[in-house]
Symmetry: none
Subunit: 242 residues, 2 copies
DNA sequence: ACCCCTATTCGACTTTCGACGAATCTCGCA
DNA sequence: TGCGAGATTCGTCGAAAGTCGAATAGGGGT
């Protein structure tokens, strides 16, 4: 898959050396003050000369960028007031194409990560990362690399788990689909049989086929699987952020 | 509206004074190491004698509580690996009814907050809170108060449908909650019996009680109901968290 | 002490579920 | 026309689920 917007190179103060007496400017944009502080400390321990600004809302971030355009790096949390999902990143990339953005997120869903990279982020750092790992990641990115969590296969499938399920679902026959939907309503075999106008034994046969095709072992697990697909329609972690 | 499970009083080392030479024990359960650290610092500056343990997963939290039952307070993030939404809180309140729990969450939806309180949390602290506000909140809660963000109207009603269900859920005994959560994982009675170390007949009795209390007629319908509570909590802001 | 209520446990019995085998039917293809 | 694959249908039988009654144990209240 192609990157849709190329991530800008991170070369603060073009023409100067990379490691010595630079005054890095970076902005931490996150609506959790405590986390902002922790992140600031983590970064401060990494770089000598660094000017870190904090933004708690997207408006603050924009204001900072307006007033001081030459920022070397933005650490952006996608879940900020005034921004939903990727809008913030998209807006950033559109308005300030020259400013590298690292997405710092509580969401570590591979699909979300890949989408961030597609939108031109210079890196993705999950909040679940430890301090040390986070530092090395940031320094790698500052060095020009593109860093993402190691276990993320950017070329891989969006969601292997649910894709697998979807594939299995697709093998269901029409009648089996009807039965599965009735299962998901909590109906008994007997009730399903009546509604479909067939015998209970037939329903049982359909249920058996469904269980086999979905790779589960009970009607309850089948219902759980079906529910996951329903919920899974929304890209990622509905019930994730807490 | 009544609190359906009373939050336990926070009076560590009963019989001793409240403010002097107490050794508070508390656990910070959050899957973001950086945030855990920041939260630890915030609390450490608040209390003199305090023993803070950290847990990055729900299993770690359980292990800590198992090994050291007399914990004075748990700061719990609802979005941890191994827990979905309120399950973690419900399970905590079922397994360790005597341990006060403060929910620390990035989600500041009033409905979610109220539901946390309904499930017996001793307080709710949004991650968007500043350090100072967070400290005063925690100290208030340690003092026995119930603290929630000021703008939350705890007296308001949730949507009638799920409120009904919530009320029914709250009548479940601790053991019944455990069984219900295992039902929601698609386990057989036999498997549940083994994990709980009781006979299968006992599990059946619990299931029967659950069905009656939830007003449903089969285990399948029970897990559907439970899933609705979990899912219904995040009505919109679907793709919000990034 | 007593009683009452609830939680938790369990065994016996009935109902439902689910696997297995098999029959019928449909449809596409040779 | 005949043939074969898959969908749909059904009966049977062992296993799982669920109901009922009951025993035990702890916790308030009087």
């Amino acid at each position: 898959m192609m990157r849709r917007m190329a991530a800008p190179p991170i070369n603060p103060r073009e023409g100067a050396g990379l490691t010595e007496a630079l005054q890095y400017r970076l902005v931490i944009a996150d609506d959790h003050p405590l986390f902002r502080g922790a992140l600031r400390e983590a970064v401060a321990g990494l770089l000598e000369q660094v000017d870190i600004a904090e933004a708690g809302t997207y408006d603050e971030l924009v204001e900072l960028l307006e007033r001081n355009g030459d920022v070397d790096l933005v650490l952006l949390d996608l879940a900020m007031p005034g921004v939903r999902g990727f809008s913030g990143l998209m807006y950033m990339r559109a308005q300030y194409p020259g400013v590298p953005v690292i997405v710092v997120s509580a969401n570590d869903d591979p699909a979300a990560i890949r989408r961030c990279m597609d939108f031109g982020a210079s890196g993705f750092i999950p909040k679940t990362l430890g301090v040390d790992a986070m530092r090395t990641a940031i320094s790698r990115i500052l060095g020009g690399d593109v860093w993402t969590p190691p276990d993320v296969d950017l070329t891989g499938e969006a969601d292997a788990a649910s894709a697998e399920l979807m594939a299995r679902m697709a093998t269901l026959t029409p009648q089996q689909v009807r039965v599965l939907m009735m299962l998901s309503e909590g109906l008994l075999n007997k009730q399903i049989a009546f509604q479909l106008g067939v015998s209970e034994a037939t329903v049982k046969a359909h249920v058996s086929a469904i269980l086999q095709k979905l790779g589960v072992e009970s009607r309850t697990q089948a219902v759980i699987a079906a529910a996951k697909i329903e919920a899974g329609q929304w890209p990622q972690g509905i019930a994730a952020e807490g």
